[in-house]
C-alpha cells in the first residue's frame, strides 16, 4: 500500500516529521517497507534559465550555455549536449557536487572537451521522472520568475512516497484514510472530518436495472450492489493533480472516469467500477458464473469463468469478475457519454478463490479479499458521483441499490481489565476508551463491563483479545513491562526425553568418529526413494518444487550418497558424512522414524584417510560401517554383545558384504555394509562406500536402574591366555566360533577375541579357512593348574567343533 505525505495530509492534520511517521507506522503494525523522499534525492536541483547558447569550440554536438542559476548572480558556464538547449530555455540545473539519480554520478568540476562545466542542465531521465532522455527538461517560460528555487517545490514533486506492508487483517488500511485514522489514534495528528457531499443524488431513476441472481446459499457472494447512472459526461484525461497522485503511487492514469475509481480505491479502500452504460445490454446482474462462459478482461486477456466465481453480467454474458476485474468491452473510454457507477460488496473468501484460480492480482482483489467496509457501498458511490460530476460533468440518477450491506454492527463485551491481564500494561480506563473511540469504536457501559461496537471497516475485530491488541499497539508496545517468567524453584530440571537424549549422543558419537554431520533434504527423487525401499504413492508430493524433491525419503542414505557424489565431483572422494534425522515409512505420525546414518567413501576410515608416511589408509570396507553402527549402539547403552548379526541387509547393500544388527527376529537395530555396486552406479560413485543406518527408535528403553554402579568384581589371580587356531569351512561365521568358545565354560572364560583370520594357500583349495582366537581364563578361587587349563581347552575345542565342525589346526 502506497501513499504520499500530501495525500495523507488530506485526511490527517499533522506536522509530524517523516521519521516520526515512519517509526509510528511500523510500531503500530503498518510496517514501512520504503520511503521515497524526493527531497533527499532531488532537493539540490534548481530552476534555471539559459541566458545564452553558443557552439562548443571543440565539439560539434556540444554547446556552451550560460545559465542563470540564481537571481542577480552572474550566469555560470555549462557544457550541454542536449539538442533542445537554446537561449531563453527555462530548465532544471544541477550544481556541482550533485548526485544525478539517473546515472548515479556526482558532478565534479572538470573540463568537457577543454571547457570547464560548472554544473549540468538535466533531462527528465536524469532525474528519474520519466524515460525522456533526448533533451533537457523544458519548463514553461513564465517559470523564469522562479529561477533559483528548488525544482521539486516548483513542480510540486516534494511529496515523499510511503510504502507500507499491510498484514492481511487490515482492509481499512488499503485506503489512505484508514492509515490516517490509525496515526491519529496513535497521537500523530487529528483525523480530518468527512466532507459533506451535495448534489450527488439525482432526480431520475436509473435506466439500467440491477439484479442479484443468487440462491439463498450463495447470496453472500454479493449481498449488495449499488449503482448510479450519470448521463452526459464528457470524459477525457483527468486533471494534473489527480494524474500526479496516481502516478506517485505507481498507478497509470487512463481517463477521468477510470482515474476516479482508482483514486477512491486508493484513498478509501473502496473499489468501484464505471461501465459505459451505452454498451450494456439489458439489466446488470451479479450472479455465479456458468461453465463455458468467457469474457475479455481489462487486461486484454480472455478468462473462463466457473460456477464458483461471482460474475457481473448483462444479457450478453459476463462483463467481469466481481471484486477482481472488469471487462474490456463494457468499460469507459474517451468517448463514453453515459455511465453506470458500480459500488458493491463481494465476499472475501470467494474473491480470494477466484483470484487464485485466475491468477489475477488486482487492486480490487487486494481489497475485497481482505474485506472491504460493507457500509462504504453507498458513501463510495456518492463519492465517485461527486468526483465524476466535478471532473466530467453530467447528470446523476437516483442511486439504485439491490440487496443490503452485510453490516450488522458487531458488539463485544469487554472488561478493560483484560488489557492488563493479557499485556501486563498498567493503563487507565480512560485511555483505553480514548484509543478505541479514535479507532472508530463506540462504547457504552462501565470499564469492567463495557459494550464495544466495532466499526464496519474492521472485520478483523471479533473478541476481547482483538480489542486488547488494538489498545496495546496504539498505546505502544514499549509500555509492556519486562516481567520475569516465574522460575521453577531450585536448580533447573532436565527436560529432554529419552529419544532426544539418544539423538544427542548418537550425533556426537559419530562426529567423534571423524564423520561430518550433513543435513540433506527430506524429499528426494522418486527413483531414489523406490531404490531405497520407498516411493509409496502416499509419500509423493502433489506439488513438488522439482522432480528432484518429490518423494519423502525412506531413509537417509540417498541424500548422503548424493552429497558424497557432489563432494567427489569437487575432488573430495574421501568424505565421511553422517546425518541424524527423520525418514518416513508411511504418512502417519508413527511412520516417521529417527535414523543415524552415515557413509564413508574412498579411504575415509576412522584412523584417517589418504596416503600417509606411516602407512596409507586402505579403502573403506564393511567393517568400518559396522564399527560405526556398533559405536552408536554402544553409546546408547546397548550391550552390543547381546545383538545378533544376520546377513539380511536390504538390497541397496552388497549382498555378501553387509549385515544387520538385531535383537531377535523383529527388532532391527541397524544395517551396515558396503553398498551394492548397482547402488553406487546409480549415484555415479566410483570406488567403495561403507554405509550404515542405525534406527534410534528400535533400541529398547533402558530399564530404570539404580544410579549406583554394581560392585567391581576384580580378581587378583593372574588371568591365563590361551590361543586356539581352528580349520573351518569357509562359510563358517567367526561369530559362531566366538560364541561357542565363550559358552564352553562360562564361569572361567572371561573373553574370547579373534586375532587372526587366514584364507588362502592350501586351505583355499579345500574350501577352508583358518581362524585363531585368544581365550582369556579368569580363575576366581585359586591359580589354575595345567590340568585345569587342559580340561577347559578340551571343552573349548569340543564346543567349537560341535557348533561349527572346526578342528584344531595341527
Amino acid at each position: 500500500m502506497k501513499f504520499t505525505l500530501s495525500w495523507l495530509k488530506d485526511h490527517l492534520d499533522t506536522d509530524a516529521s517523516i521519521a516520526a511517521l515512519e517509526q509510528t507506522l511500523s510500531a503500530i503494525g503498518l510496517e514501512v517497507e520504503s520511503i521515497d523522499d524526493p527531497g533527499a534525492k532531488l532537493g539540490a536541483f534548481r530552476v534555471a534559465r539559459i541566458v545564452e547558447a553558443k557552439r562548443h569550440p571543440n565539439a560539434d554536438k556540444l554547446q556552451i550555455v550560460m545559465v542563470e542559476t540564481d537571481k542577480g548572480k552572474p550566469p555560470l558556464e555549462v557544457v550541454c549536449g542536449a539538442p533542445n538547449a537554446r537561449t531563453g530555455l527555462v530548465g532544471v540545473f544541477a550544481p556541482l557536487g550533485t548526485c544525478i539519480p539517473g546515472s548515479n554520478i556526482t558532478l565534479e568540476k572538470k573540463p568537457v572537451r577543454g571547457v570547464v562545466s560548472n554544473g549540468m542542465m538535466c533531462s527528465a531521465a536524469e532525474l528519474e521522472l520519466s524515460d525522456e532522455s533526448a533533451g533537457i527538461i523544458e519548463l514553461p517560460e513564465d517559470m523564469a520568475s522562479r529561477v533559483g528555487e528548488a525544482y521539486i517545490e516548483v513542480a510540486g514533486l516534494n511529496d515523499p512516497v510511503f510504502e507500507v506492508k499491510l498484514t492481511p487483517n487490515r482492509p481499512d488500511c488499503t485506503g489512505v484514510r484508514g492509515i490516517a485514522r490509525d496515526l491519529a489514534a496513535a497521537g500523530l495528528g487529528t483525523l480530518k472530518p468527512e466532507l459533506k457531499l451535495s448534489g450527488v443524488e439525482g432526480s431520475f431513476e436509473s435506466p439500467v436495472d440491477i439484479n442479484l441472481e443468487f440462491s439463498k446459499d450463495t447470496a453472500d457472494a454479493c449481498p449488495v450492489f449499488a449503482g448510479r447512472y450519470v448521463r452526459g459526461v464528457k470524459n477525457g484525461p483527468s486533471p494534473a493533480w489527480l494524474q500526479q497522485r496516481l502516478k506517485s503511487v505507481g498507478l497509470r492514469p487512463i481517463n477521468a472516469l477510470v482515474d476516479v475509481t482508482n483514486y477512491i480505491s486508493q484513498d478509501r479502500g473502496r473499489p468501484l467500477h464505471v461501465y459505459d452504460a451505452d454498451k450494456l445490454k439489458g439489466a446488470v446482474r451479479a450472479r455465479l458464473g456458468k461453465a463455458g462462459e468467457k469474457f475479455l478482461a481489462l487486461d486484454g486477456k480472455e478468462y473462463a469463468v466457473d460456477e464458483t466465481m461471482c460474475v457481473i453480467a448483462d444479457d450478453s454474458g459476463p462483463l467481469g469478475l466481481g471484486g477482481v476485474i472488469g471487462g474490456e468491452d463494457s468499460g469507459s473510454t474517451e468517448v463514453t457519454v453515459n455511465v453506470l457507477i458500480e459500488s458493491a460488496y463481494f465476499d472475501p473468501a470467494r474473491t480470494a478463490q477466484t483470484g487464485r484460480k485466475t491468477g489475477l492480482v488486482t487492486d480490487a482483489r487486494y481489497r475485497f479479499e481482505r474485506g472491504v467496509d460493507p457500509a462504504s457501498v453507498l458513501p463510495g458511490l456518492d463519492l465517485a458521483t461527486d468526483m465524476i460530476l466535478k471532473l466530467v460533468g453530467g447528470e446523476p440518477s437516483k442511486a439504485q441499490v439491490a440487496g443490503k450491506p452485510p453490516a450488522e454492527p458487531r458488539v463485544i463485551d469487554f472488561d478493560f481489565a483484560r488489557v492488563a491481564k493479557l499485556s501486563g500494561i498498567d493503563i487507565k480506563d480512560s485511555e483505553i476508551k480514548t484509543i478505541l473511540e479514535k479507532l472508530g469504536c463506540t462504547l457504552s457501559g462501565k470499564g469492567n463491563a463495557a459494550k464495544v461496537t466495532v466499526p464496519t471497516w474492521r472485520p478483523d475485530i471479533h473478541g476481547a483479545a482483538d480489542l486488547v491488541e488494538e489498545v496495546v499497539r496504539i498505546a505502544g508496545l514499549d509500555r509492556i513491562p519486562l516481567t520475569p517468567l516465574p522460575r521453577p524453584a531450585g536448580v533447573a530440571r532436565p527436560v529432554l526425553t529419552e529419544r532426544q537424549k539418544r539423538a544427542r549422543r548418537a550425533r556426537r558419537t559419530l562426529a567423534a568418529r571423524g564423520l561430518v554431520e550433513a543435513i540433506t533434504w527430506s524429499f528426494i527423487p522418486d527413483g531414489e526413494a523406490k531404490a531405497f525401499g520407498g516411493g509409496d504413492a502416499a509419500l509423493v508430493l502433489a506439488n513438488p518444487i522439482s522432480v528432484e524433491m518429490s518423494s519423502m525419503r525412506p531413509g537417509l542414505l540417498p541424500g548422503l550418497l548424493s552429497a558424497l557424489k557432489r563432494n567427489h565431483n569437487r575432488g573430495f572422494s574421501d568424505a565421511a558424512l553422517f546425518e541424524l534425522g527423520q525418514a518416513y515409512r508411511g504418512e502417519k505420525a508413527e511412520d516417521q522414524y529417527l535414523s543415524a546414518s552415515g557413509v564413508r567413501g574412498g579411504t575415509a576410515k576412522l584412523s584417517g584417510s589418504g596416503r600417509h608416511w606411516d602407512g596409507a589408509a586402505k579403502g573403506v570396507d564393511l567393517y568400518d560401517a559396522k564399527a560405526d553402527a556398533v559405536a552408536v549402539l554402544f553409546s546408547l547403552g546397548l550391550d552390543v554383545a547381546k545383538a545378533q548379526v544376520t546377513r539380511d541387509a536390504p538390497d541397496w547393500y552388497h549382498p555378501g558384504r553387509s549385515g544387520t544388527l538385531r535383537l531377535g527376529p523383529k527388532t532391527v537395530l541397524a544395517h551396515f555394509g558396503e553398498l551394492h555396486p548397482a547402488t553406487l552406479k546409480a549415484f555415479g560413485i566410483d570406488g567403495p562406500v561403507a554405509a550404515f543406518e542405525v534406527f534410534l527408535d528400535a533400541i529398547p528403553a533402558q530399564k530404570a536402574k539404580s544410579r549406583a554402579k554394581p560392585r567391581l568384581e576384580a580378581n587378583d589371580l593372574m588371568p591365563v591366555r590361551r590361543d586356539f587356531a581352528f580349520v573351518l569351512d569357509k562359510g563358517v561365521a567367526a561369530g559362531d566360533v566366538v560364541k561357542a568358545a565363550a559358552g564352553a565354560d562360562k564361569a572361567l572364560i572371561r573373553e574370547v577375541s579373534v586375532f587372526d583370520v587366514f584364507e588362502g594357500g592350501a586351505l583355499e583349495k579345500e574350501g577352508k579357512k583358518s581362524l585363531a582366537i585368544e581365550v582369556t581364563l579368569q580363575p576366581t578361587a585359586e591359580t589354575l593348574t595345567d590340568k585345569d587349563i587342559e580340561a577347559v581347552s578340551s571343552k573349548i575345542a569340543a564346543a567349537v567343533k560341535a557348533a561349527t565342525g572346526g578342528e584344531i589346526r595341527s
Binding site: G424, V468, L496, R504, A511, G514, W521, A563, S607
Partner: protein, 359 residues
C-alpha cells in the same frame, strides 16, 4: 712378604688397571672383568698361590691381594659406568627422529557437528533453564493441525502466504501436507497435556519457496507457554533473556512492532539491535510472537477465559546465520565437506550454560 713379591703385586695391579682403562666398550670391559675377576681370572690365580707360600707370608700376601682386588673392582665398575653412559649417549644420538614429520589429527579433529544442530543444542540449553521442555511432532501433518486449529480457516489469506507442499488427495478429499511451521506441535502439546505448559518445538518445516534466501526446507524453533497468568510482559522478558543468552552479550536492544498472525492476538514482530552481532546501527528481524489466540486455545479443548499464554517462532537457520556469520542458507543443505568443515563445530563444543554456549 718379600719386597720382590710386593713389587710383583704392584706391577700386576698396574697392569690390571691398565687393561681396564684400555677396554673401549662394554664387551671389552666384560672380557677384562672375566680375565681379572672371573673364577679363573688373574686375581683367583693369585689367590691359588697363597697355599704355596710360607705361613708367615700368607696373611700379608692375602691382605694385599684382597686390597688389589678391591681397587681393581672399583676401577672396573667406574670404567664400566663411564662406558655405559657413553654407550647410552651414542644410542640416543643414533635414535634421533624427525620430529617435524606430520601426524594424523585423529577422528575428533576431523568430525563436525552441523551448525543447525549446534544452535539447536544451544537453544535447548537456554530454554531448559527457563523450564521449557522440548516437544516434537511429525513433518507430515493434517490440514487441521497445520492450519484450521491454528485459526487459519480454508479461505484465510494467510494460507496463501504459506506456500504449502501437499500430498495427493485421499478418497474423502482430505489431503496431508508438509508442515509449514512447527506450530502443529504446539497444538499437539495442548491437546495432549494440561496447563501449565512450557515447551519449545524445534524442527524441520517446509514451504514451496526456493531462491537466494529461501530453501524449500528449513528449521524453526517455536515456544509456547500456557497457564492462567502469563502475559506479554513475560513474553518480552523471555525473548530478551533468550537473545542475551544466545548472542552471549550482557545487553541487547530489542524492538517490538505490532503485527498480525492468525494464531496470536495481540501479535508482535521482534527486531534485535545488530550490536549483538557486532554490527551497530542495524536492526535484525528475528521472530514473530504474540498471545495465543483464544480460538486456538478453544480449538485445543481449553477454556480461553481461564487459560492464556504466549507463543513465539523463529528460524533456527536464521539465528545460526546471524550468530555465526553464515551467509548462504542453501549451503546448509548441500552436504559440502568444505562448508561443513569450515562452519561446523567440534564434537567437544558441547554448549552448556556453565561453560558458555560457544565455549
Amino acid at each position: 712378604m718379600t719386597s720382590a713379591a710386593a713389587a710383583d703385586l704392584q706391577a700386576l695391579e698396574k697392569e690390571l688397571l691398565a687393561s681396564i682403562a684400555g677396554a673401549g666398550d662394554l664387551s671389552a670391559i666384560e672380557q677384562v672383568r672375566i680375565a681379572v675377576l672371573g673364577k679363573k681370572g688373574r686375581i683367583a690365580e693369585l689367590m691359588q698361590t697363597l697355599g704355596k707360600l710360607p705361613p708367615e707370608e700368607r696373611k700379608s700376601f692375602g691382605q694385599s691381594v684382597n686390597e688389589i682386588k678391591s681397587r681393581v673392582s672399583e676401577a672396573l665398575e667406574a670404567h664400566k659406568a663411564d662406558l655405559e653412559t657413553k654407550a647410552l649417549s651414542q644410542r640416543l644420538e643414533s635414535e634421533r627422529a624427525d620430529v617435524t614429520l606430520p601426524v594424523r589429527g585423529g577422528a575428533i579433529a576431523d568430525g563436525r557437528i552441523h551448525p543447525v544442530s549446534q544452535v539447536y543444542d544451544e537453544c535447548v540449553e537456554i530454554f531448559a533453564d527457563m523450564g521449557f521442555a522440548v516437544a516434537e511432532g511429525p513433518d507430515i501433518e493434517s490440514d487441521d493441525l497445520n492450519f484450521t486449529k491454528l485459526n487459519i480457516p480454508p479461505e484465510h489469506p494467510a494460507r496463501q502466504e504459506h506456500d504449502t507442499f501437499y500430498f495427493n488427495p485421499k478418497a474423502d478429499g482430505s489431503r496431508l501436507l508438509l508442515r509449514t511451521h512447527t506450530s502443529p506441535v504446539q497444538i499437539r502439546t495442548m491437546l495432549s497435556s494440561k496447563p501449565p505448559i512450557r515447551v519449545i518445538a524445534p524442527g524441520r518445516v517446509y514451504r514451496r519457496d526456493s531462491d537466494q534466501t529461501h530453501t524449500p526446507m528449513f528449521h524453526q524453533i517455536e515456544g509456547l507457554v500456557i497457564d492462567e497468568s502469563t502475559h506479554m510482559g513475560h513474553l518480552k522478558w523471555v525473548l530478551e533473556e533468550f537473545c542475551k543468552a544466545f548472542f552471549e552479550v550482557d545487553e541487547v536492544k530489542m524492538r517490538f512492532r505490532a503485527s498480525h498472525f492468525p494464531f496470536t492476538e495481540p501479535s508482535m514482530e521482534v527486531d534485535v539491535g545488530a550490536e549483538a552481532i557486532g554490527k551497530p546501527g542495524q536492526w535484525l528481524e528475528i521472530l514473530g510472537c504474540g498471545m495465543v489466540h483464544p480460538n486456538v486455545i478453544r480449538n485445543c479443548g481449553l477454556d480461553p477465559d481461564k487459560y492464556q499464554g504466549f507463543a513465539f517462532g523463529m528460524g533456527l537457520d536464521r539465528i545460526a546465520m546471524l550468530k555465526y556469520g553464515l551467509t548462504d542458507l542453501r549451503a546448509f543443505f548441500s552436504g559440502d565437506m568444505r562448508w561443513l568443515r569450515h562452519y561446523g563445530f567440534s564434537v567437544l563444543d558441547v554448549p552448556t550454560l556453565s561453560g558458555g554456549l560457544s565455549g
